[in-house]
């Protein structure tokens, strides 16, 4: 499990961000004090650092520079001011990515995943498992017991979104939005077609009724 070190001085934001990331399969380390933040990060040896720019004691730029002297850990800078200067400074100081508040959580997750893939050079090992079904995102394939089936881009997007929110209902609009994020601008009727095809494919690998319809609300796995 990949470990993310969150450097954020607003306690509520830090905690909520931590639980969102944990729900999405990351382990989080939350910084509580900022005096020896660089040492703390190095000691914790995380896979990725989420670094807020406006901090007490030292600002994010300073921490970023300090960190780069001793470590190659990927850093995503998070800031509330969307100025070009901040972005430029962060990237010059060795940050790997830059994202502005208030971010869409899905976009943040996408950035995290992308930076992790880039830094570890791993692709195709992005796997999700839930109730006996494994989704191999890199290969766009669903695996159940020894059987596997290839998924189209839309089917993969739908299944991934549902598995990310396992145990909770995902509305049709949210699924459509997920597909729009992938630049597949589908309409309501297309979603129905995609869902039906996905159901059929899952039934083919012997796992029918995996995807439940919540009438008037959406879908759930």
């Amino acid at each position: 499990m990949e470990r993310i070190f969150i450097v954020e001085d607003e306690p509520r934001l830090r905690e909520e961000l931590g639980s969102v990331l944990e729900k999405n399969g990351y382990e989080c380390i939350l910084a509580e004090q900022f005096e020896q933040i660089t040492e703390d990060i190095v000691k914790a040896a995380p896979d990725l650092v989420l670094l807020d720019l406006g901090l007490p004691v030292y600002d994010g730029f300073y921490i970023c520079r300090k960190l780069r002297q001793v470590s190659e850990v990927p850093v995503i800078v998070v800031t509330s001011s969307d100025s070009d200067m901040d972005e430029l400074m962060s990237l010059n100081l060795g940050a790997d990515d830059f994202i502005t508040k208030p971010y869409n959580i899905h976009i943040l997750l996408a950035h995290i995943a992308a930076v992790l893939v880039r830094s570890h050079g791993r692709k195709g090992s992005l796997m999700m498992t839930h109730k006996g079904l494994t989704l191999d995102i890199g290969k766009s394939r669903a695996v159940h017991k020894e059987q596997s089936v290839d998924l189209t881009k839309n089917e993969l997007g739908i299944l991934r979104c549902l598995m990310e929110h396992k145990g909770t209902i995902v509305s049709r609009d949210e699924l459509i939005q997920e597909l729009w994020e992938m630049e597949e601008f589908v309409e309501d009727s297309t979603l129905t077609v995609n869902i039906n095809r996905l159901r059929k494919k899952l039934a083919d690998v012997g796992i029918s009724d995996y995807l439940t319809t919540k009438r008037g609300q959406g879908y759930m796995v």
Binding site: E16, S19, K23, S80, S81, S83, K101, P102, H165, Q217
Partner: protein, 341 residues
């Protein structure tokens, strides 16, 4: 200042002169002065009067003509007195003194107001950044507690964020030095990013995007244009009609060094009497009244930002058919070069 005007202005002096001239002449006649002597005396008297008049005119003309010229030619008339030489007649010197005092007062007030405005703007921008943290926290709380309540709260949060953005860009658009940076950006990326920003709203209102020929690169500021596109798209969604399948068509074409990006909706359209005024600050029009919740600020801010970016914004519409908003963007320099070579 023309001589005739000057003389007309001095009509009292002229009347006095004429009366004294006639009375003097009469007196000389009464005491039986020889005609030739009377003529000489009257002649000297007249000459004296006219010489004084001409001298006075000449002195004033130089001063006032320069003052008038400065008033016409200088934009910052609060610095008028800087263009004047100290005149050699009393009235002029008095006027100069008053003008300087007045200017000083005015300029002090202007500077104080500008300072105050700048401080206010700085505060607005700081505030807009500060409020992003509570918004971010709220979004995360909603993500961690997903249900129908938080889903509808999330929609309200989108609106809240939209208004904060609008205020921030209003403040940016009216400041003297815009913090924009022109860069070469693929047009398609701009459009995609803007659509994703409004995806939730579009999906909820069942508006689908279509794209035609967006493979151009443009020179613009990505943040500003993102805000502008967001506003235009939001308008397109807001004023859709249920009579037909709502669509937003994004298309681009190139003429010379301009790329025209058109965003066409098939919504209710804008009445012809409103079309000229949609860009005015606070204008809501017939549609705004019908659909409610219109601040009349969106297009105004877009227009201001566009002017700063040197991008023309054109709105055309047919009632019942739809509205087309076009942005005339600059072609990226590379494209110009590759076309020449």
């Amino acid at each position: 200042m023309r001589f005739i005007e000057y003389v007309a202005d001095k009509w009292v002096s002229v009347v006095i002169f004429v009366i004294v001239f006639i009375c003097g002449g009469g007196l000389l006649m009464l005491i039986e002065t020889p005609f030739a002597v009377a003529c000489v005396v009257e002649g000297f008297y007249a000459a004296g009067f006219f010489l004084i008049l001409i001298q006075d005119y000449a002195a004033r003309r130089g001063f006032y003509d320069r003052l008038l010229e400065a008033t016409e030619g200088v934009e910052e008339i609060s610095y008028l007195s800087e263009f004047l030489e100290e005149p050699n007649f009393l009235e002029g010197r008095l006027l100069c003194r008053i003008l300087k005092k007045d200017e000083k007062y005015m300029n002090d007030r202007l500077a104080a107001n500008e300072q105050e405005l700048q401080e206010y703007k700085d505060y607005v921008e700081t505030w807009a950044h500060e409020i992003k943290t509570p918004i971010a926290v709220s979004r995360l709380i909603m993500e961690n507690n997903r249900d129908d309540t938080t889903r509808s709260l999330a929609e309200e949060m989108d609106k809240l964020e939209g208004f904060v953005e609008q205020m921030l860009y209003y403040s940016k658009g009216s400041s003297l030095n815009g913090d924009y940076r022109m860069r070469v950006i693929p047009l398609k990326d701009l459009v995609m990013k803007a659509i994703k920003g409004q995806a939730k709203y579009m999906i909820a209102e069942k508006v689908t995007p279509r794209f035609e020929n967006l493979d151009y690169e443009v020179l613009t500021d990505s943040r500003w244009i993102h805000f502008i596109l967001n506003q235009i798209i939001a308008n397109g969604i807001k004023y859709h009609t249920d009579e037909r399948k709502a669509e937003l068509v994004f298309s681009a074409s190139r003429t010379g060094k301009t790329i025209t990006l058109s965003i066409a909706d098939n919504g209710i359209g804008i009445p012809p009497e409103d079309i000229e005024r949609v860009r005015r600050k606070g204008f809501t029009g017939e549609n705004g009244r019908k659909y409610g919740k219109s601040t009349g600020m969106g297009l105004y801010i877009c227009d201001t930002l566009c002017r700063k970016l040197g991008t023309e914004l054109i709105v055309s519409s047919k009632v019942g058919e739809g509205t087309v908003v076009s942005l005339r963007l600059a072609v990226a320099p590379e494209e110009i070069n590759s076309n020449i070579s």
